[in-house]
């Protein structure tokens, strides 16, 4: 079923649709809260991922750290943080990778220092399609 917030561009809330699609990938990400699980993942990422009922697409997106794809495959950004933290990277690395257009850490940081992404022109899919 469509939701009124589907018209907001570039936005992936955790609702019942993403919940079901992303359950296993999010529970993998959640497991990284535990030091013992982080150890297992660092020893062999693929083998650890294979212990979760994730799709092959989701596993590859994790291994290749494709964050925007992870969101499209059902992961939620709060859960995805666990992977960025696992890599000991600042979140701006993930933000920049997801941004349209794609930004480096420094570019993303600079955009925020300059006042962030403006709301004007970024409220609806229509604005993006016409822009």
């Amino acid at each position: 079923m469509e939701r009124d917030y589907d018209k907001i561009p570039g936005t992936y809330p955790l609702d019942s649709r993403t919940y079901r699609k992303g359950y296993h990938v999010n529970m993998f990400l959640m497991s990284l809260n535990k030091a013992a699980c982080r150890d297992k993942f660092s020893k062999n990422e693929r083998a650890y991922l294979d212990t979760f009922k994730m799709t092959e697409e989701q596993k590859l997106a994790v291994i290749e750290r494709r964050y925007l794809d992870l969101l499209k495959l059902g992961a939620n950004v709060y859960y995805a943080f666990k992977l960025v933290s696992f890599d000991r990277q600042p979140p701006q690395v993930m933000y920049g990778q997801m941004a349209e257009p794609r930004l480096t850490f420094n570019e993303f940081q600079q955009m925020m220092i300059e006042g962030g992404r403006p709301i004007s022109g970024n409220r609806s899919v229509e604005e993006w399609n016409n822009g």
Partner: protein, 279 residues
């Protein structure tokens, strides 16, 4: 009788905690923000209640897709800072107030709110960062705490009005607590920010400032906003601002705004803080 003295709203960005923990508050990126927070910290030094009710959300730390209640109250004797993936923050444990927490639960449930009760939840940055914003780096926190966790992550979320009404019920609970203690209430999270997707980094100072204005002058205006209003205007994660409605609902009709700070950026977020004294 217990007395609710004041409410605080503050963002709870993890980067703030990291800046404090790692001694970076004097660096160029943080300097003006932390200088701006000095009056807030001085106010807290002069106005330390016996217990703070802290309204926060858990970020896939203690609660997840497996179980996430709409409203959860912590009744533990103490609470540990959580491991969110990079090890727990090196901050003191938080002391609970089980007697007051249970009174609050009994009173609020009699007011038709169905609460989850939790004795052992670890508290993530959503809870510990506001403590650091207010109190810096003490060897122990100066007040007991009652955690009130609100689901603002996994839709369906409680409405902005429901959050305000929960605050009103908490206000009633405080008034009926027999001991002569002073109580503060904090709403945390926000202000405008979006952390995921191609629109990441969106902020909206006009929306944020109006929300802050309304907190003092017209709090019901902030209860008429839908989740989609928040998500569209203040970013997907800006919907956390509904937790400030809990804080505001607990306070009386007349409040005096005695502090406000608004600052962009903290990480990908518009930072906001406000102190409202109950009149």
């Amino acid at each position: 009788m217990a007395k609710l003295t004041a409410g605080m709203g503050t963002s709870h960005v993890p980067g703030l905690g990291a800046a404090i923990d790692n001694g970076k508050t004097h660096e160029a990126y943080w300097k003006s923000l932390f200088e701006g927070l000095e009056p807030l910290r001085n106010w807290h030094k002069a106005n330390t209640p016996d217990v703070n009710i802290i309204v926060y959300n858990d970020h896939a730390t203690e609660f997840s897709l497996d179980s996430y209640s709409t409203f959860t109250v912590g009744v533990g004797e103490s609470f540990r800072p959580a491991d969110e993936g990079w090890g727990p923050r090196q901050v003191p444990e938080m002391q609970g107030h089980p007697e007051f927490a249970w009174h609050l639960i009994e009173s609020v449930m009699a007011d038709e709110f169905d609460l989850a009760v939790n004795a052992s939840m670890d508290l993530d940055h959503g809870f510990t960062v506001p403590l650091s914003v207010a109190y810096g780096q003490p060897s122990e926190w100066p007040t007991a705490v009652v955690p009130v966790c609100v689901n603002v992550i996994q839709h369906p979320l409680p409405t902005a009005l429901r959050c305000y009404k929960l605050g009103q019920a908490i206000g009633t609970a405080i008034e009926s607590y027999p001991d002569d203690i002073t109580v503060g209430i904090w709403g945390t999270g926000g202000l405008s920010h979006q952390l995921g997707g191609e629109r990441v980094g969106v902020v909206n100072p006009e929306f944020d400032q109006l929300f802050l204005d309304n907190l003092t002058k017209d709090p019901l205006a902030n209860t008429r906003l839908s989740h989609t209003d928040f998500m569209r205007e203040a970013g997907c994660e800006g919907v956390e601002m509904i937790m400030w409605n809990v804080m505001r609902g607990a306070l009386g009709d007349n409040v005096e705004e005695i502090f406000r700070l608004y600052h962009i950026p903290v990480s990908a977020t518009a930072f906001g803080a406000i102190i409202l004294e109950n009149k």
